[in-house]
Amino acid sequence: MKSLAAFAIASLCCVAAAAADYVEVPGGRFESVLPQGSSPTVSSPVNVTAFAMRVKPVTVAEFAAFVRAHPEWQRDRIPALFAEKRYLLSWAGDADPGPKLAPQSPVTDVSWFAAKAYCESEGARLPTWLEWEYVAAADDSRRDARGDAAWRRQILSWYERPSDAQLRAVGGKPNAYGIGDVHGLVWEWVDDFNALFIAGDSRTQGDPDLLKFCGAGAINIIDRDSYAVVMRIALLSSLNAADTTSSLGFRCVRPHEEASP
């Protein structure tokens, strides 16, 4: 019964999202693996405000249309501040992915600046870490499946597979929100990628951490069982905004319809 209900919800979501490729995500109380309060060690659930998220990651075809409409984001024109040399490296031409890349596969080799500009071009923005993690906590029937060891193992198994030479098309099985490919396809940029492990810069300095940071000092990971999510944080924290990798893509979010002005 439960799964039937979830199926019904998922179906409704997908029908609603088909036009815009976005689906409403209701707000809720959520405990992040990152402490959200001023104490770095005390877990503190927070309210996540409702938002709408892209059902699928942005595809190669969609990003190609974007750079054709906004040629300043083509790899031959993009300023070095916004993207390193590997930006769209696998593409055949400056505005042409070429025949080797499947149009419906997720776009990768994009910098944070480029991902952000893409989202802005469709009236959206990148999700925050909290929004991404909130959605990523869902399996196909539960909004928060993180307590399920079997499900956690299933996510981890993705990381154990050798990375595919060619990424498959987007459109994997949707989770309880109707959002697909959150796990198992690509890593994803978040808007506040540079807000996760705050301790990065202190490694090169001898100064006490207290002098480096306002607020709570360095970050602790509260739920150490969430390896898969922690790996995401580790990856994102290691990146600069101009960096690109062949397995890092993105999706966008929009304000919740009722909440938007």
Binding site: L196, I198, G200, D207
Partner: protein
């Protein structure tokens, strides 16, 4: 031997001329030349200063700039950033100090209104050499990303953030960064000398 040494001197002179030429050409062109690709001024960030005027960082092109980020309600580290920049300015020779600009950008545009920025500028003894600026959240995030500054708003309204003071050269490129607070970083001062020496 004599001839040889003259030749060498001539060679050195012509080398000097070659080295100087691009510099002169660059100086002449700098007013109209495109902003370098790795310049912070590529951001075209829409900011507002402590007097409520629109502020474009690219308007500082041609002069060295110290830039950092802060939020006004921060009680501990942020005042030290202001103090450290004051100390750094004092450690500079008068001509280098006179041409330096300082830009402080807020992480917290929601609470750092123009009035709050104005008050903070007064409390932190920031004269006309300083610009305290705010943008929208997306703009703050972009500037932080370009400066490799990490920050995160906590549920209690405080911010976790790394504290970095960045020196921009005359073209807005990152010339030096320091995370040292409460003391003048000699490496930063040395970098200011170098940036100053390259005339715009």
């Amino acid at each position: 031997m004599n001839i040889r040494s003259i030749n060498r001197r001539e060679a050195l002179l012509s080398l000097g001329a070659i080295a100087c030429l691009p510099l002169a050409a660059r100086a002449a062109a700098s007013a109209t030349a495109p902003v370098p690709g790795n310049s912070l001024y590529q951001l075209h960030a829409a900011l507002t200063d402590q007097d409520g005027r629109p502020f474009d960082m690219a308007s500082l092109r041609g002069t060295p700039v110290l830039v950092s980020m802060f939020y006004s309600s921060c009680q501990m580290v942020c005042p030290m950033v202001f103090e450290t920049i004051h100390s750094t300015l004092k450690a500079l020779p008068p001509d280098e100090r006179a041409e330096m600009k300082v830009v402080m950008i807020s992480f917290d545009p929601a609470r750092d209104t123009v009035a709050v920025l104005k008050k903070t500028a007064a409390v932190r003894n920031c004269d006309a050499q300083w610009t305290l600026a705010r943008g929208d959240e997306s703009t703050s995030r972009k500037i932080a990303a370009a400066l490799n500054i990490q920050y995160r708003r906590l549920s209690d309204g405080e911010f976790n953030h790394s504290t970095i003071i960045t020196l921009l050269d005359r073209e807005g490129r990152i010339a030096s960064r320091t995370g040292k607070l409460g003391t003048v970083d000699t490496a930063l001062v040395k970098a200011v000398h170098e940036v100053h020496a390259v005339k715009g």
